[in-house]
Subunit: 247 residues, 2 copies
DNA sequence: TGTCAAGAATATTTCGATATTGCGCGCGAT
DNA sequence: ATCGCGCGCAATATCGAAATATTCTTGACA
């Protein structure tokens, strides 16, 4: 419980430009709890489908039901949790159909955003991509402690890399949509390593090729590579998901 | 105040499959207030940029702050209102940049969804499109009472028509994204008639052509027509928005 | 006259408690 | 034995007010 460190989801939170907060960075309790709740879900500390009881959460985050409720409401609006009117909230369960929809949507939208980003990217953007890719390339996928679990560092670096690629798209709405789809996919990716692991896939190589195409301004090729990258991930997850759902 | 009749936004609410509600349709207070709040904003009863004070809203909707807060939180997550941490909420203001982004996003995503819808549409879908188009075609754009204001009936019929077109897209996520973008655009459209009015545009004709292309299964043409339709609307709004922002 | 600080006034955020709702169990009737 | 009914428990939804933050007002001091 508690004191959860930075993780993939934090990356999105960073995006919001911190407005001038004069006194003591007066961030609200709601915001804190929302961020933690979100991180806990995206990082897989809570299983998909789990019921989220108010009593548990108020104790866990040490706040009143109102605050928990607001956090859950926001997550529900994003689709990370689901709300059933008199039955409370639960983490959105995984389903093959949704994964398929999600992948199609991501291929289309993330592809579009990537193309726009490449077309508008300047030198600063290129630098960021190079940096993010370097970090990702040097980070091990398996966590040191438990090799069967995906390492938090890699997940973060992975998230940062893909975000860096998209960062130069000038259309905020589309960019946010792409990021929100990535978050949704994060839930699926979290439960994938045990199966995807023994695949004969060179994920790091895919990233290298993707970064190269983007940096040389070859939007068409980059989009093609991204598409393939996403579909491959889905294929690996598909098997895993089926295993989960039969539990 | 209060007792606001059905309107454009209600259309989206309908989508959510009403789950079996056994006793007295136990809809929650929160849901009611959220729906009304949303309708009030989308229908233009509240000006973009307006500050939304809790005191006003609790009185207006006759409920406690918690309920208002939840509604606002949900709307904020959708982008219809904005939340500034210790300063409350206000209706998202209009801006030319955002309108441009919005239009681009809609052309891309709504176009994509329309294509998928046409490709997957069956006879029931065709019937719905025909019906929705008929209703739209027979509804007058100007309201009887005040000809300078866009009639609520037309707005509703318009919304229903475009929704009907998209309804056969099997990808729920993409479909919802397209609908949510349409809602965002609704805010802009609401403030458009006074300028767009004297344009030499045949909006109903555009709808007729769009419906025809969709029904004959010509996805490419339909998408082209939709693209044009959306861009024309934006062009009309652009002028209007500039006028509003200088107020 | 301008600036700054203290305090009043106003608005938002958070809390704890009450009101509702849904669910399961036991009891009685058929 | 099974079905229907109602009581009580558990969990959520809603309330109203206390706690906190911000803005506005006022008045002293340079």
């Amino acid at each position: 419980m508690g004191e959860v460190a930075d993780d993939a989801s934090a990356a999105r939170t960073e995006m919001q430009p911190a407005r001038h907060r004069s006194p003591l960075a007066a961030i609200t309790r709601t915001e804190q709890v929302y961020t933690q709740l979100r991180a806990d879900i995206l990082s897989g500390r809570v299983l998909p489908g789990t019921k989220l009881r108010f009593a548990d959460l108020t104790e866990r985050y040490d706040c009143s039901t109102s605050v928990v409720r607001e956090g859950l409401t926001r997550l529900a609006e994003q689709g990370l949790v689901q709300s059933e009117p008199q039955h409370g909230f639960h983490v959105t369960p995984l389903s093959q159909d949704d994964l398929d929809d999600l992948t199609t949507a991501r291929c289309e939208i993330e592809g579009l955003v990537l193309r726009m980003s490449i077309e508008h990217g300047n030198i600063a953007w290129e630098s960021d991509v190079v940096a993010a890719h370097h970090a990702l390339d040097r980070t091990s996928m398996e966590s040191a402690a438990d090799p069967v679990v995906m390492s938090d560092e890699w997940t973060l670096a992975h998230s940062r890399f893909h975000q860096a690629l998209l960062a130069a798209c000038p259309n905020q709405r589309l960019r946010n949509m792409a990021l929100s789809l990535r978050d949704a996919a994060e839930l699926y990716r979290r439960w994938s390593l045990p199966i995807g692991h023994d695949d004969d896939r060179d994920v790091q190589g895919e990233h290298r090729a993707l970064a190269a195409a983007a940096l040389r301004g070859d939007a068409a090729e980059a989009v093609r590579l991204l598409d393939e990258h996403l579909r491959r991930t889905t294929r690996a997850l598909g098997t895993r998901e089926r295993a989960l759902s039969t539990q």
